[in-house]
């Protein structure tokens, strides 16, 4: 893969340099972490960069007095339900497009891909009127439905691709053994396409967690307000409470970061599959 294999020492030094550079790239986030544990009085004075001592006052303020904990719960619920809905619909649709002789398949696929290019800003006003008309404002339902639908095109496309990659022999063998289509689907195909499902699920969860425009427009109170909206509407008294906002930001970013760290492999696979399959 590399042309001349450098000496081990040089490789080591080089790799370290790259890691350092990327660490610097992530400094904005580390700075936010630092801010969240800096005492209030030391926030607006630079230098010194480092706090004199660590304090949990910001996290306490956020967890006890703000609406962030409730918002975290809302985000989690909405994201989980969105993922379940999008994947349920997406797996079926992906399977149909990959394996079954659906009429107008090419056109449908093109339409689905085109749907993923829809700008949210264009559909937000009719969706607002729709949700209002259905009485779904300030509910999880509105967000789950909207988010899942926006995530569907990508999920369908990914899963159709993943399924197509799997050779049909196993399924045909199972069918010959007398298994029904549903059984083949459940016991043969699903386990094989599980990594693809995991990637799609991860991408959908992240999309739902990070989603802002619909959440800002459709939610009214902390009954359904998700974390990005709560963060954007963070109440300030005199001036902006930077420390509290930093703490809230860190809390808001923990689930995505943990997921990306733990399931990095699936994330990369999903991102690449979406783009490389052209």
């Amino acid at each position: 893969m590399s042309r001349r294999a450098p000496r081990r020492g040089r490789q080591w030094a080089r790799d370290l340099a790259v890691l350092l550079a990327l660490g610097l790239y992530a400094v904005p986030y580390f700075w936010q972490v630092l801010t969240s544990i800096k005492p209030e009085a030391e926030l607006l004075v630079l230098p010194p960069l480092l706090p004199s001592h660590m304090t949990w006052e910001h996290y306490q303020a956020v967890l006890r007095q703000s609406l962030i904990p409730r918002a975290l719960g809302n985000s989690l619920g909405v994201a989980c339900l969105t993922t379940v809905l999008a994947l349920s619909l997406g797996v079926l649709a992906g399977y149909a497009l990959a394996r079954l002789p659906v009429p107008g398949k090419g056109l449908i696929l093109l339409g689905i891909v085109a749907g993923s290019a829809f700008p949210q800003i264009a559909t937000v006003s009719p969706l607002y009127l729709l949700m209002r008309g259905l009485g779904l404002r300030d509910t999880w339902t509105a967000l789950v439905v909207a988010n899942a639908s926006f995530a569907l095109p990508l999920v369908i496309w990914l899963l159709a691709g993943f399924i197509r990659e799997i050779p049909e022999d196993l399924e045909q063998a199972a069918a010959l053994d007398g298994a029904s289509r549903a059984q083949v689907f459940r016991y043969v195909l699903l386990p094989l396409v599980a990594p693809g499902v995991a990637s799609s699920a991860l991408l959908t969860f992240l999309f739902s967690w990070n989603e802002f425009l619909f959440a800002y427009t459709f939610t009214a109170t902390e009954a359904s307000r998700t974390v990005p909206v709560a963060l954007a509407l963070f109440p300030g008294i005199f001036e902006v409470p930077w420390g509290d906002i930093a703490a809230a930001s860190i809390l808001a970013s923990l689930p995505p970061i943990l997921l990306v760290a733990g399931l990095q492999r699936y994330l990369i696979r999903g991102l690449l599959a979406g783009a490389l399959r052209e």
């Binding site: 209002r132 509910t139 009214a220 109170t221 902390e222 009954a223 509407l233 109440p235």
Partner: protein, 422 residues
Amino acid sequence: MCLLAVAAGGCADHRGAPAPVTTLVFKHAHILGSGNPLPRLIAEFEARHPGVKVKGEALPWSTDEQRQFFVINLEGGNPGFDVMMLDVIWVPEFARAGWLLDLTSKVAPGELHAFFPSAVDAATFGGRVWAVPWNMNVGLLYYRADLLAKYGFAPPATYDELVAQAERIRAGEAGARLDGFLWQGKQYEGLMVNVLEGLWADGTALLGPDGAVFPDPARAADVLRFMRGLIERGVSPPWTTAADEELTRRAFGRGEAVFLRNWPYALDLLEAPDSPVRGKVGVAALPRHQDGTRGAGSTGGSHLAIYRGTQHPELALDLVRALTSEEAQRMMISGAALYPTRVALYHAPDLVRTHPALPAIAALTLAGRPRPVTPYYLTMSTLLQPELSAAVVGVKSPARAVADARRALGFALRDATAGQTR
């Protein structure tokens, strides 16, 4: 699917049985000042009404965000709150949109006479009463009395005088970090207020008698040019374009400026025991541009209104009455620098003792002018703000900003009878 559980009113018509708790939700802005009286007022109200719980919820800091919150939630129906603290300029719009409970039949005939007439006017739309005035505001000119006295100046009557005084004092105090005139130039409603006061000082207005926007565009452009000029000449610092009330109040409070335009609440904070400018601050009417016109401060403040679809209208009205009572307003001026809407309190001996400027502020309030009282005011303001900001920041010429503003407003209000007031 869950609406805010809080708004689920328990039915209070089971006498004898332990009544489930009825909850009223009260949405209000954060109360500035260290002695926030709201918790105590709420506790007293709850004591007088057993089985009732009042949940006070604070809104984001900026009034623009507060309004957007209200609009999005009231528009969508089932907002989940009962009593609202509304900026005076929102009342006609909210009333016209049908979101407020009509209070005309519920208030006694003379009940509103105790309040400032302009405040009551702002709460009236279509001949009906939609809110109760809660606290009052008027634009004031703050000045460093010590510095003016040192150079033998009286508070300026015209803006030209103000600029001359500011420059003279700054030159004389070279070495001290001193700005001339602090005002609010950030792109928000506060900028609209500052521009309105400038227009009035120059004998013109935002709306003409027939409802036309900027009836005298050339003069409006002059006013904007003057405001931009303050920054260009250095009389006002560059950060004025990002300044709101608190930013300017704090700078003035650190002794870093000669003049400040702000609301009455600032006075209490400037006269706080640990304030560097304690005892050195004077309050006067805003200057004028031309002879013959009168420099007028913009009146403002907030009102309490009730959501039309509330489950507990009588209870909500009780709460509103309790919060606007004489006793409550006394606590508000003492603890939170929220100036009363009851005229008599401005001359109450005990209050005047702790707040000597009260009578003067009352006079200035009576001489103040309201922003256009029309349901379309917010539409106008949100469309105007970017243009005004562009002129003040210097990316657009004042004349072009005025022209663009007229165009945008003409289109947005093309169906409305702009200038419709009552």
